[in-house]
Each structure stands twice: as structure tokens, then as C-alpha cells.
Symmetry: C2
Subunit: 104 residues, 2 copies
Amino acid sequence: MSATAMEVLAEPSRRRILDLLRGGERSVGDLVGHMRLTQPAVSKHLRVLRDAGLVDVTADAQRRLYRIRPEPLAELDAWLEPYRKLWNESLDRLERHLDKRKPR
Amino acid sequence: MSATAMEVLAEPSRRRILDLLRGGERSVGDLVGHMRLTQPAVSKHLRVLRDAGLVDVTADAQRRLYRIRPEPLAELDAWLEPYRKLWNESLDRLERHLDKRKPR
DNA sequence: TTCTTACATGCCTTGACAAGTATATAGCCG
DNA sequence: CGGCTATATACTTGTCAAGGCATGTAAGAA
């Protein structure tokens, strides 16, 4: 772990990898097959994700199977929390506004 | 708008600015007073936040008052959504595990 | 108008990072 | 062992962003 989940996930390719892993664990080669990037590039992204605790690996012969570890995302969710009520208020205001224009 | 909320908020100083603005609108000088950065640096971050639709400005004489526009954060929240159930499952598993070790 | 305040923008340097190519490492198979 | 497969790491290059300093600009004050 070295960077925040937010910093790590600023990279679109890394978000892509996580999205792919949402369907279950995958090998590196499998991921490469879905990602117009070379194998070393994907391996490096996986390294960053691993250091951030966002994925986990196990060895299967020569292959490495990666899977999501969602816990760090909870931290991101927590950061977002205080803002959630802010945009709920915005929506409320919009709603009240629409109610005024088109009552009932 | 040019970058995703995630990319924009990868920068710690920009997260800091948003956190400060959660207390209500502030002038640039006010923000600078809270942020070991020079005024130009803060202004540039504000520019990026503005381009991403994350803040809004109004002029008050020579001052500019910035406030949060939380809508783009909803997009981030939406990305997070499918993962939320993943870590809830993790927590469930942990819970069941603890129940086993210390039942009742 | 001139000065001052509050902020934005331009330019420059520096550091970080992403991606490619080449190479190392480790496990399987014959 | 020798060769093949799957992945990781080293090295290099190009790009880009953050931050500082200097300067531009607009609005009040004198």
C-alpha cells in the first residue's frame, strides 16, 4: 500500500482492470486479451493495484490469478459520504422547483 | 469539463479544497490561507475543479467566491455502486466467521 | 489617474508516470 | 536437461502535470 485508492484509480486502465475482475478472478494473459496494452503494461498496473490493496493474487502453476479486494474502496466511499447529502439537497431543491412549476 | 471526477480528485490539494468548501463558499485568498500553497497554485487547482464542474464561482468585487457543485460526484458514486455489494459480501463473510468463533 | 487589492495566466523547471522493448524468472512438458 | 509458456522486472523514452516566480487584469480607494 502506498497511494490512496483515488490516486490509483485515476488511471483509466486500472479502472478497466477492476471492472473486468468484477466478473471473477482472471489471469494476467486473460486481462491482456481484453485490454489493448502489452503484457508488461498490464503487469505493472496490477502491481500498483496490489500495492494499494485493491487486488489479490494467487499462483496457479505459471499463471497468476488476480481478484478484487474491495475493502480500500470503502475508504473512498467514506470520503464521499459527507458530499452525498450535499447533492441530495441539490436534488431536493430541483424537485421543489419542479413541483412549483407543475404542481400535483 | 474535461477530466473525470476521479482524475481531478486524485490530487490531494484538490480534495483538500473541496473539503474546505464543504463549510460554505470561500474566496481564493481564504483558501490560500489554509493551504501551504501559493495563490497561483490554488487558482490553478480551482480552474481544474471548475472545468470538471466540481465548483462554481461568483464575483464579489475583486474577489471570487467558490462553492461546491456536488453533481459530478454522483458520477463517481455511480461507478462505485457495483463494488459496494462486493465489500458488503466481504463484511458478511467476516461476520459469519466471527459468529462461528464466538456464537451468540 | 494612480495605487492597491484580489485573482488569473504565462513561462519554466522538475518530477512522476505510462508504455514499449528487451530480459529475467519460474513452472510445465517431452 | 532443453524448450515453451506465463508473468515479472529493468531500462529507456515521451508526455504531462504541479508548483514557483513574474506578470497581466479588473475592481475599489485615494
